[in-house]
């Protein structure tokens, strides 16, 4: 044993330590970057998790729950962090969660094993399923995956469950259903396969995308790349595009570059058009639309584009003048009304143009606008699809969490956090709350009053969910979860407030199915102004109100656009508006008691208001007798009632009496009309109904009357151009009963005054009320003729109305019975309306009787 060997050994050890130190030097000092490390660790160190705000619940007046939220789990994935240890396991787990299947641990394990076994038996199908799943959850067309996998492909499965797809020629290899593409040169051999698989360096090569094919349709290529990138889970789609771009000819590359560079857009504008900033006014409308369509995806993404396109919309629709004055001022003689600009922006808002939008959608939109008559829903759907895809790809590119779906059973969090460890695989699992739409029974119009909430938390429809959205929606909080397990509140959560409605659920349930034909019922509490119940027929058909409400909202939006155009003399739009209204009226998602599209003229119901106003103005006295000799064939006809006083006029619903009363209101017809309209305004007919109807309708009425003043005689008998929803008319009845202006409400809002000031003298009101009592309780009253025996015990006072909706051989009417009960101590005001009916208002009496009986049974006060 020599000492020298020990010396040699020591030398070798010293050399080893020197090499180690040299490597340390290189790692730590040469390639070390403390800033980058800081960034990386910041990303890893803590994870922000959102704490969802619980959306407020909705209660009826007695505290019964009408709408609430239930626990759910949101599953998402951050693609760049996604790690798949086993595709089959992931598929199984996702299916379990998304299908609302909540097995115990043992069952879940068996499911996963079965999926894994299937994957191993038929890996190609499993791989297809994986891609389909990814495409499905990313909401992209499955056709893309077929194209991607066109031609024979082989799928290999390694013992651990890793799936490897390869095209037949081995040119493309997608590992683990493409969370990455392995670069060329790395041969892979496994025990299971024993094959060498060569890989392609770029997806473009593998898919043989040619410059010519790509250059044909720039937008289609971008979409294809984005889809493929999204489908394959590639985060950096730009990198792919750059690589493919580099292989294309110069011309195409130039086009791509120009399209993507908004600064160059401005340069092109200046060079080719002489204007730095494109605008409809500067370029002329048609040229501007063409420019936006073809050359400016970059510009389209700026916020200014929204307003510019809205402006264009208005010009193309003729709402705004197409002016090319040098100084940008409007042509002389043209007044830009605020309402027109509002309309244009409303249109832009409805089409969500105020947000940046993808180029493809601009093209679709501009085409639709130019054709004017093309309002196909498909255009809007195409636009919205493009937006969704844009957002999806944006999520993928920007490392944002992409939502895969929701599992409604929060208890599944155990499965997620348990041994399967989905979170460790890169899934994000966050608690959420799903809106429970099931408390209102299927087919109930209550569903329409409440509205609905989509999965993403957006309200849809005209119900309380929309109107009280600000109150109901809280503000989510966030917590910072540190890697060591501790957590701290980054932002406290603020849960939504609950909303209590004026609705009485038992009453609503009782009258839900009383309507024998299309129409509406509304009941108002006279003491508080609260809407106790409101039903409609037909009622919603499906279990899920969201789709129905969304479809109705789409129709209403298009109707609004069509009406705006029709107001400016566009005959095509007038026809279109009529057709759209018919569709809306046929929709079961429209609540006729509330919706603006369902408004009808009140007919003779408003004679009460006319006569009351005449009494107030001094133009009439109750004992004044008029000999009504007008027949139905006269213009402004009547029914030969003979001599009538004011009570008789109400009782028998004499048009002639009301014509005379209206004309006496003022020396001129216009002034009489104005007086009537002012009275309506005073009665709150143009005001909002908190929780159900917004303020915009009142403004619409005013505009309408300004453009086309009615003959006061038409308004006198409720056959003018003004139409009202049954809710409002019931409010009128409540006002007449109480003597104060009753402003109906559904969901109380701050500042809303339910009971306003007196609007007429009590003596005059007594007169009118007596007339209304006689309508129901005398044999000559329009309602009492047939139903006196049933109405009298209920102490109902009311007024019938039969408003003509169409003329011809079989005219259609809106038939009303509006009133209150009991007439001596009024508690409930009601309005029953049959829509597009061929009978008169008296036919509403049986329904009204049932309504009043229901009120007495549920809420008391039976005389």
């Amino acid at each position: 044993m020599s000492s020298s060997r020990l010396g040699i050994l020591a030398t070798l050890v010293v050399i080893a330590f020197i090499a180690l130190t040299a490597r340390l030097f290189h790692v730590q000092l040469v390639q070390g970057d403390p800033d980058r490390v800081r960034t990386d660790i910041g990303r890893l160190q803590s994870e922000k998790a959102s704490v969802p705000a619980i959306r407020g619940a909705i209660f009826d007046r007695d505290g019964r729950v009408l709408r609430a939220s239930r626990d759910a789990v949101m599953i998402g994935v951050v693609p760049s962090r996604f790690r798949e240890h086993s595709i089959a396991d992931c598929i199984a787990d996702l299916r379990v969660l998304l299908d609302s299947y909540a097995p115990g641990r043992a069952e879940g394990a068996a499911w996963r094993k079965r999926c894994l076994d299937e994957a191993l038996r038929d890996p190609y199908r499993a791989a297809q399923a994986v891609l389909a799943l990814r495409l499905d959850v990313l909401r992209l067309e499955p056709a893309v995956s077929t194209a991607t996998l066109a031609g024979p492909m082989e799928c290999l499965v390694e013992p651990e469950g890793t799936l490897i797809l390869t095209t037949a020629d081995g040119r493309a290899r997608i590992v683990d259903a493409a969370t990455s593409i392995v670069p060329r040169g790395r041969p892979l051999t496994t025990k299971a396969t024993r094959r060498r698989l060569l890989v392609s360096p770029t997806l473009g090569e593998a898919l043989e995308l040619t410059p010519a094919a790509l250059a044909e349709d720039l937008h289609a290529e971008e979409r294809l790349l984005d889809r493929l990138a999204a489908a394959l889970g590639l985060v950096d789609a730009h990198g792919l595009r750059d690589r493919i771009t580099a292989r294309c000819d110069a011309q195409w590359q130039t086009v791509v570059g120009l399209a993507l560079d908004s600064r160059l857009n401005d340069a092109i504008c200046l060079q080719e058009l002489g204007h730095r900033t494109p605008s409809a006014k500067a370029m002329g409308t048609e040229a501007y639309a063409a420019f936006v369509h073809t050359a400016m995806p970059g510009f389209a993404r700026t916020a200014a584009a929204g307003k510019a396109v809205a402006h264009t919309t208005a010009i193309l629709q003729g709402i705004l003048p197409d002016s090319t004055d040098d100084d940008g001022a409007l042509a002389p003689g043209v007044e830009l009304e605020e309402s027109d600009e509002v309309s244009a922006l409303e249109v832009a808002s409805e089409w969500k143009l105020v947000d940046p939008m993808p180029a493809a959608a601009i093209g679709a939109f501009c085409s639709a606008i130019r054709s004017k008559s093309d309002f196909e829903t498909a255009r809007r759907d195409a636009y919205q699809d493009a937006r969704k895809r844009q957002q999806t790809v944006g999520d993928l590119r920007n490392d944002r969490t992409h939502r895969i779906g929701r599992a409604p059973d929060f208890g599944l969090a155990d499965l997620i956090e348990g041994p399967v460890g989905l979170r460790s695989l890169g899934f994000r699992v966050e608690p959420e709350f799903l809106r429970d739409h099931t408390r209102a029974a299927k087919g109930d119009s209550l569903m329409l009053l409440l509205g609905a909430v989509t999965e993403s938390g957006s309200p849809v429809g005209r119900g309380v969910e929309t109107f009280a959205n600000d109150m109901l929606t809280g503000a989510p909080g966030s917590i910072l979860i540190h890697h060591k397990g501790s957590a701290e509140v980054a932002r406290p959560v603020s849960h939504g407030s609950d909303v209590t409605l004026s609705l009485s659920l038992p009453l609503q349930t009782k009258i839900e199915r009383l309507l024998p034909r299309p129409g509406a019922i509304a009941v108002v509490d006279i003491a508080t102004g609260g809407i106790l119940a409101a039903t409609t027929s037909p009622a919603p058909r499906g279990d899920d109100p969201v789709d129905e409400l969304a479809a109705l909202a789409s129709l209403e939006g298009r109707l609004s656009m069509a009406r705006a155009a029709a107001r400016h003399g566009d005959r095509e739009m007038r026809t279109e508006a009529r057709a759209l209204r018919e569709q809306i009226l046929a929709s079961s998602a429209m609540h006729r008691a509330v919706a603006s599209a369902g408004q009808t003229p009140p007919g003779s119901v408003f004679k009460v208001l006319t006569l009351l106003l005449a009494l107030e103005r001094g133009g009439a006295r109750p004992e004044d007798v008029l000999d009504c000799q007008l027949g139905p064939r006269s213009s402004f006809g009547c029914h030969h009632h003979g001599p009538l006083d004011l009570w008789g006029a109400i009782e028998k619903s004499c048009n002639h009496y009301c014509y005379e009363a209206a004309l006496k209101l003022s020396p001129t017809k216009d002034a009489s009309t104005a007086m009537l309209v002012a009275f309506y305004r005073q009665m709150g007919l143009f005001d909002a109904v908190p929780g159900l109807i917004g303020n915009s309708e009142g403004a619409a009425f005013e505009r309408l009357l300004k453009r086309r003043p009615d003959d006061p005689r038409n308004d006198a008998i409720g056959q003018g151009s003004l139409t009202f929803a049954p809710i409002r008319v019931a409010g009128i009845a409540a006002s007449l009963a109480s003597g104060r202006v009753v402003h109906p409400w559904f969901a109380k809002t701050e500042g809303h005054i339910a009971l306003g000031k007196p609007f007429a003298s009590e003596s005059n009101l007594v007169i009118v009320r007596e007339g209304m009592r006689r309508v129901c309780e005398t044999s000559s009253g329009t309602a009492g003729k047939q139903y006196r025996s049933k109405l009298t015990p209920l102490h109902v006072a009311g007024k019938t109305g039969t408003a003509q909706l169409s003329s011809g051989e079989n005219p259609l009417y809106a038939s009303w019975l509006v009133g209150y009960a009991p007439h001596d101590r009024p508690k409930y005001a009601f309005a029953v309306m049959f829509d597009r009916y061929q009978g008169d208002g008296a036919d509403c009496s049986p329904v009204a009787i049932q309504v009043i009986n229901a009120c007495y049974d549920v809420l008391g006060g039976r005389p």
């Binding site: 060997r5 020990l6 490597r23 340390l24 160190q45 013992p159 969370t179």
Partner: protein, 381 residues
């Protein structure tokens, strides 16, 4: 009782070995304090406790003549071998590995003291200092290392098992292994390594190799999945710079995103918090300790004593090189602790007792020149 002889023995402890050992342990306790998670077990306190046990063990071992330990070598080796077999049959499985035996209230890992047992066994075989000219001279000695190697590799604990190999090779080399045998062993070893990689390694072991040596060819997610520890270690080291980020201020270490920052990757902690200077000084300290062990063996006339020093020094060097190599990305992740610094009570005590053997050699072999009554070349009692 006369303590003078004992005190005289204390005085003959090799100061370099003693001071360096104690210093490294002390540094280790401080680093563990920084790298451990306060809400979990107080690792620094536990390490301190085991430090005391280790000191006691080290002193006891040092004060007993190493010849006595060598006499116990075969028994210890066989006993530990039996314990390794026991582990394979009735051992406790933790995280898929069966490495421990439950002895009452504590877990005992036989593979750690087996390193020392192997050294003693080899020392016993070299007692006479016979040359290793023929295969039958050295092959049995190699087999002494291979038997526990296979038993431990089966657990599976390939990292620990591989530590037996450099011990045996160093001992054989110093013991006079012929050059051709060295070449043959190198070639055979390379072939065995290739075959093992292809056919014998578990998938996770293979992936560790790939994620170390072929990282550039892996996709990000694959790097992150299998080489996460290495990624974090490299991040920590890269962030250290020249002088480090400061005690308890290391971003990676304190973030808790580096697994095993207090044992397997404590070198990364040092490099991050104390920079290249700190890590370099640490490596220097370990190297000096290794060289000090070799020096004790160098001056030792007794072959067995030299073997002990060679074995212990090589053990310390191999573990330090592998552990640091793992942290820097030169060696696949193995789970080998950094001697004296990594958290781990039984490993610390084992290592200190191994150093105690070296001290025993220094006490009982080095003969002061001013003691003519003691003959040189003979082991003192």
């Amino acid at each position: 009782m006369n303590f003078r002889p004992w005190l005289a023995k204390f005085a003959r402890f090799d100061p370099a070995v003693l001071v360096l050992t104690l210093s490294l342990v002390a540094v280790g306790i401080v680093l563990i304090q920084s790298a451990s998670i306060p809400s979990e077990r107080p690792l620094a306190e536990i390490q301190s406790r085991f430090f005391v046990y280790g000191c006691i063990g080290m002193v006891v071992v040092a004060l007993v003549p190493y010849s006595r330990w060598i006499q116990l070598g075969p028994a210890a080796y066989i006993g530990l071998l039996l314990l390794l077999i026991g582990v394979a049959t009735v051992g406790t499985t933790v995280n898929g590995s069966r490495r421990w035996l439950m002895l009452g209230f504590f877990q005992f890992q036989p593979s750690e003291p087996m390193k020392t047992g192997l050294i003693l066994m080899l020392a016993a075989c070299f007692k006479r200092g016979d040359p290793l000219k023929r295969v039958r001279d050295w092959l049995p000695l190699l087999a002494l290392a291979l038997v526990p190697f296979f038993l431990v590799a089966r657990q599976p604990d390939l990292g620990t098992a591989l530590m037996y190999v450099p011990i045996a090779l160093a001992v054989l080399f110093v013991g006079g292994l012929p050059l051709r045998a060295i070449v043959a062993m190198a070639v055979t070893g390379a072939g065995i390594a290739w075959a093992a990689f292809r056919f014998l390694l578990h998938p996770y072991q293979r992936e560790r190799v790939i994620s170390t040596f072929f990282r550039e060819n892996l996709a990000d997610y694959e790097q992150a999945r299998e080489g996460f520890q290495l990624l974090q270690s490299l991040r920590a080291i890269e962030g250290g710079g020249v002088s480090g980020q400061g005690f308890r201020l290391g971003l990676v270490t304190q973030s808790g995103t580096m697994p095993h920052a207090y044992n397997d990757f404590i070198f990364a902690t040092i490099a991050e918090e104390h920079g290249f200077v700190g890590a370099g000084l640490l490596l220097l300290g370990v190297l000096l300790l290794v060289l000090a062990c070799y020096r004790v063996g160098f001056v030792c006339r007794d072959p067995a004593g030299r073997i002990i020093c060679t074995g212990v020094g090589t053990l310390i060097a191999a573990q330090a090189l592998v552990n640091a190599g793992v942290a820097i990305g030169m060696v696949p992740t193995t789970g080998i602790a950094l001697p004296f610094l990594s958290s781990g009570g039984s490993a610390l005590v084992s290592m200190m007792m191994a150093v105690g053997l070296v001290l025993s050699v220094s006490v009982h072999q080095i003969i002061p020149l001013n003691r003519p009554s003691v003959e040189r070349g003979r082991p003192s009692s």
